[in-house]
Amino acid sequence: MKSSGLRINNAELWGGAIWFAISLFVVDQGRRLGLGSINHPGMGFMMFWLGLVMAGLSLGVAVQSIKGEGPSLRALWAETRWAKTLIVIAAFVVYALAFTQLGFLLSTVPLMLVLLRAIDPVRWTIAVPLSFGAPLLIWWALKSLLQIQLPSGMFEIG
């Protein structure tokens, strides 16, 4: 896993670089918000100094990667079922976008079907009743018992 010298595909290097960019953003935001003075610190005082601390820490992480520490990006996902993870993330993003438009019931049933069938497939005889039954039960419990209204969407179902 480890090899000496700078490797452009080193995960630690990328991690450090991303954190460094974030810390520069934090420093800039802190400066824009106003540092104030030491006896009357402004809104950006803590953010500015924290940003500097983060910059130092992220440089430390990046330096460790230059010393050869850390796995490659490819090694992190080697021998994993990364495609399955991507499917769940994609399903979740689509679900969140459709949530208010379609409503809770119409968007949750397909999500459950995808999750139950696309990852480690569950038998249809279990997947279909569960995909319909679980959201219906939750919708009923929230609406009737807790008086929480879930979105009914453009078709006003639920």
Binding site: A11, E12, G15, W19, I22, Q29, S37, I38, N39, H40, P41, M43, G44, F45, M46, M47, L50, G51, V53, M54, L57, S58, G60, V61, Q64, L76, W77, T80, R81, K84, T85, V88, I89, F92, V93, Y95, A96, F99, T100, F104, T108, L111, M112, L115, L116, I119, D120, P121, V122, I126, L130, A134, P135, I138, L142, L146, I148, Q149, L150, P151
Partner: protein, 503 residues
Amino acid sequence: MDLAAQIANGFAVALTPINLLYCFIGVFIGTLVGVLPGIGPISAMSLLLPVTLSGTPESGIIMMAGIYYGSMYGGSTTSILVNIPGEATSVVTCLDGHQMAKQGRAGPALGMAAFSSFIAGTAAVVGLMIIAPFLASFAVAFGPAEMFSLMVLGLVIVTFLTQGSMLKSLLMASAGIVLGLIGLDSITAQARLTFGRIELYDGIGLVPVVMGLFGVSEVLSNIEQGIKRTVTNTAIGSKLPTSDDWQRSRGPIWRGTVLGFFLGIIPGGGAVIASFASYALEKRVSKTPERFGKGAIEGVAGPEAANNAAAGGAFIPLLTLGIPPNVVMALLLGSFVIHNITPGPLLMMQRPDLFWGVITSMYIGNVMLLVLNLPLIGMWVQLLRLPYNILFPMILLFTVVGVFASSNNVFDLYVMIAFGIFGYLARKLGYEAAPLVLAFVLGSIMENKLRTALIISSGEISTFVKKPISAVCLAIAAIMLLLPLIPALRRKREAVALEDGNN
């Protein structure tokens, strides 16, 4: 009012039918999430945070507390029968508990786990009753400088105890503070880092952040690896330990209780470190240390007592100082805040019904847990046979509903998904989520205390070292930050560092 009267008042609150029901729901869900690997008290408490809105503050907080200490009981069942810890706190129980199960002694192992949890949990409540009022009177003297330094110490301890690189943990903690600063400034009431989104004026919600970082990212990681588990196919038999078992376990239970209780009080310490420390202690004091790891009942009794006592001890900093010592207590702080209640030194005086009601409910909860975990153990074993491919869609469904119900805002769903993906990638790169969450909760309070301390002292930075309590906290924090620079100590830290996410 003297202590006895206050305790009686507490029982009067805890024993009302509605509070008994909430307590039962809490300990039941706690046991459930403790038993199920892949879902912990943090996810369950986040999920149920919105539910606390519908009842009285004491009902909601009693339920949330029940989930926490209930999960300590449930975690051991999975460790003993499946050799997978249901909770991080039960990792050590796998070592001897599962060996006992393989030797046909699953019953006594489960029984001893439940009894030692009960004894320690109850003793911790007694300790809480004695120490909390004393500490609360002492905590009134804490000014902004002391509070700031204590929070710095808590964060440093968490970063010190989490797994892997300390640089990365400190980065996560710093990011958590920055995230906690989003929203209206607590002193000038002006918006910062809101980017014109009204949803961000109140800051990012704790529930979507926690559900994303712990619930969604946990599921994503599990799916990637593919969880497989086999429940030990041995008859559980009698759950009552023999007199020899009791003889061997008596010392470990009491030592674990005392050790766990005090480790629980320390910010950043908690149940995970307590269970490991107890196991190490028992192995050291045992005349037959070679039995450990091969089915020694002391290796079940001590750590199980320690993690339950630590769960009780962890309430002390929250209730008396208003500072959550770990992520679970941060969520409990959230449920106080939802009801406009500020935990801290004045809570005992302003809301004695709530303070003592919550504490005494833990006695009742511990009795309920003993019943749930001994006669009903078969039910939990059946639950362990539920396949993960059915379980994970349900977990995701509950996270979605929990997050939406907490704010009635779809924006929180986006936040949860974003933090879920971030949490998954962070795990991949070896960044732990626990320091970020604790820092996120403490961020705005820390900033407020820092600025207030500087304003009060007219910009005198030395105020943080002139005040003795503050100076001690900062000195310990500085030592802990410097320790990993010594190679031998760094190796030692890496050996004891723990995944504290579920703590």
